[in-house]
């Protein structure tokens, strides 16, 4: 319990640092504006509050994580600066748990501008469908569709910036995200998680709990990894895969940091 409280405090300090840097705001405020436009575009076809929440979250998940990854790419790299990396490695609270807390703190700040946008979209959906449940549905969709995707890209961006110069890592995040969620191997073949349970796009959870129609899920390159989206089981399986690969990325970051000594 003590460890959890300490990790929470670490995340708070990391959030404070992220919030004090201009980079996060310069990147995420325009991204939130774009998210508002994209989300509003999805409201038109709203049949039910639930379906609408899922569709909006899926649309946001195409664009928002790109901004999150770009602005947060330097979070882990900062802790490897001269001497600081040694110091951070010589204390009891260290390793993958600390890395996770560092990323979580940054992520919380990066998503701050997106929260009011989500609230506005939820309210707009409530007005349009005449169903107040649109608000909690939107909040739930934020949690199970958008948030895991953002956690995944934050970890990936953090790893990229450990092996590439930060500006290059930021630039690389953009194609990496589209490779992960929207690559069409039939147009140009490449191994991609698109269509499999590994995909971080939120398609499976959106189908499972919001009833959206998936566009790729089930059509991945590896048959046994690409079940058709079919309710709670595939939704949970996909969430587990995304969280697991996020954890693996964090573990990888830890190894890269150790290897740098």
């Amino acid at each position: 319990m003590k460890g959890v409280a300490a990790l929470l405090a670490v995340a708070c300090y990391e959030a404070r640092m992220a919030a004090r840097g201009r980079g996060v705001w310069i990147g995420m405020v325009p991204m939130a504006a774009l998210a508002l436009l994209v989300g509003m575009g999805r409201l038109d076809g709203a049949e039910s509050a639930r379906l609408n929440a899922g569709a909006v979250a899926e649309a946001l998940t195409l664009v928002v994580p790109v901004g999150v990854g770009v602005v947060l790419a330097d979070r882990l790299r900062r802790g490897t600066a001269a001497g600081l990396g040694d110091l951070l490695d010589s204390v009891p609270l260290r390793g993958a748990a600390r890395i996770g807390a560092v990323l979580a703190g940054g992520l919380a700040v990066a998503l701050l501008p997106v929260l009011p946008v989500t609230a506005v979209l939820g309210a707009a959906a409530a007005v349009r469908t005449g169903d107040a449940a649109a608000l909690p549905w939107t909040a739930l969709a934020f949690l199970v569709v958008l948030l895991p995707a953002c956690a995944w890209i934050t970890a990936l961006a953090g790893v990229l910036a450990l092996v590439l110069p930060a500006p290059l890592a930021r630039a690389f995040v953009v194609p990496a995200w589209f490779w992960a969620v929207a690559w069409n191997p039939r147009l140009l073949w490449a191994p991609t998680p698109v269509g499999t349970l590994l995909v971080p796009s939120g398609e499976y959870p959106a189908q499972a709990w919001f009833g959206t129609t998936p566009s790729w899920a089930g059509n991945g390159q590896v048959g046994w990894l690409s079940p058709a989206a079919d309710g709670t089981v595939t939704g949970l399986a996909n969430l587990a895969c995304v969280l697991l690969s996020t954890a693996l990325l964090i573990g990888g970051a830890r190894l890269i940091m150790m290897g740098k000594r």
Binding site: Y13, L84, P92
Partner: protein, 288 residues
């Protein structure tokens, strides 16, 4: 907290940076001296558990650093100041210290707050405590680094060139700060400022090219130059066959302070200092 180092070797690729080092540090302060590239920082990083030895053993308070438990133990008792420490520019000094205290396992917020305030005061930063570190001068940053090393009541303090960039007053303040740690704490301090060692460290170890070339009492190192230290006044060239530790212009010409086996012509013997002892030792290792 006793530290025993035996047969410690560290290689980076093909390069042997520490070569079969045997050393012991007991309670109190030990100075670590040696030329640039001698391996002081590498030794300290190994002690801090940041690097793993290529071979040999490090034992801290009876715990072997080759084991996971030994490293975990060391981290709990350690205060460590790396040679070059970049601080988070977006935090204030107080926040940075609180953050490090948190990572060091000082879980109680009130204890942390008191500890941080006390150390900020001890390093003379109480007035700047709430300013962002990004705006701190080099010496102020160094003092924050010193303060963080002393957080959480460490039993083993490893400070790598702590006084680099400190002004004379701060250097004096630092000495009294370390003296206040008392005998229950083991302090290993690397420096190029021999005066720091002369003033604060009863014991000293000297590394050269990855090997221990002296370990023992600081007075013993000074004694190396005893009866071999001279002042030479001359208007001619610098004395040859001697290690010149100082040179100053005088109205009559130049006054050289030298360490030599045979007194140069016109030399006046003087009492040796630690600097002379160090120069004598280096001269014996690399006779010119």
């Amino acid at each position: 907290m006793d530290v025993a180092i035996t047969g410690l070797t560290k290689t980076f690729g093909r390069r042997t940076v520490l070569d079969a080092v045997d050393l012991e540090f007991g309670a109190g302060m030990t100075g670590l001296l040696g030329p640039n590239g001698a391996g002081k920082t590498t030794l300290m990083r190994l002690l801090a558990g940041v690097l793993r030895p290529s071979s040999g053993a490090l034992v801290v308070g009876g715990h072997d650093l080759r084991t996971r438990a030994g490293r975990a133990f060391t981290r709990r008792v350690l205060g460590y100041l790396p040679q070059h420490l970049d601080l988070y520019p977006d935090l204030s000094a107080r926040e940075f210290l609180d953050y490090i205290a948190l990572l060091k396992g000082v879980d109680d917020a009130r204890t942390r707050r008191a500890d941080v305030a006390r150390l900020l005061d001890r390093v003379g930063l109480a007035d700047s405590a709430d300013l962002r570190l990004g705006g701190f001068s080099g010496g102020m940053r160094r003092r924050v680094g010193i303060a963080q090393a002393l957080l959480g009541d460490p039993r083993l303090v490893i400070v790598d060139e702590p006084t680099a960039g400190l002004d004379p007053e701060e250097r004096m303040r630092f000495r009294s700060l370390l003296a206040g740690l008392g005998e229950r704490c083991t302090v290993v301090l690397s420096t190029h400022v021999l005066d720091d060692v002369a003033q604060t460290c009863p014991r000293v170890a000297v590394l050269a090219a990855g090997r221990v070339v002296y370990t023992g009492a600081t007075s013993g190192l000074t004694a190396y130059a005893q009866d071999r230290t001279y002042l030479v006044d001359t208007d001619g060239p610098q004395p040859t066959g001697a290690a010149v530790t100082n040179a100053a212009a005088t109205p009559e010409g130049m006054r050289y302070r030298v360490v030599a086996d045979e007194p140069p012509p016109g030399a006046v013997p003087v009492a040796a200092t630690l600097e002379d002892g160090y120069a004598a030792l280096m001269r014996d290792i690399h006779p010119t």
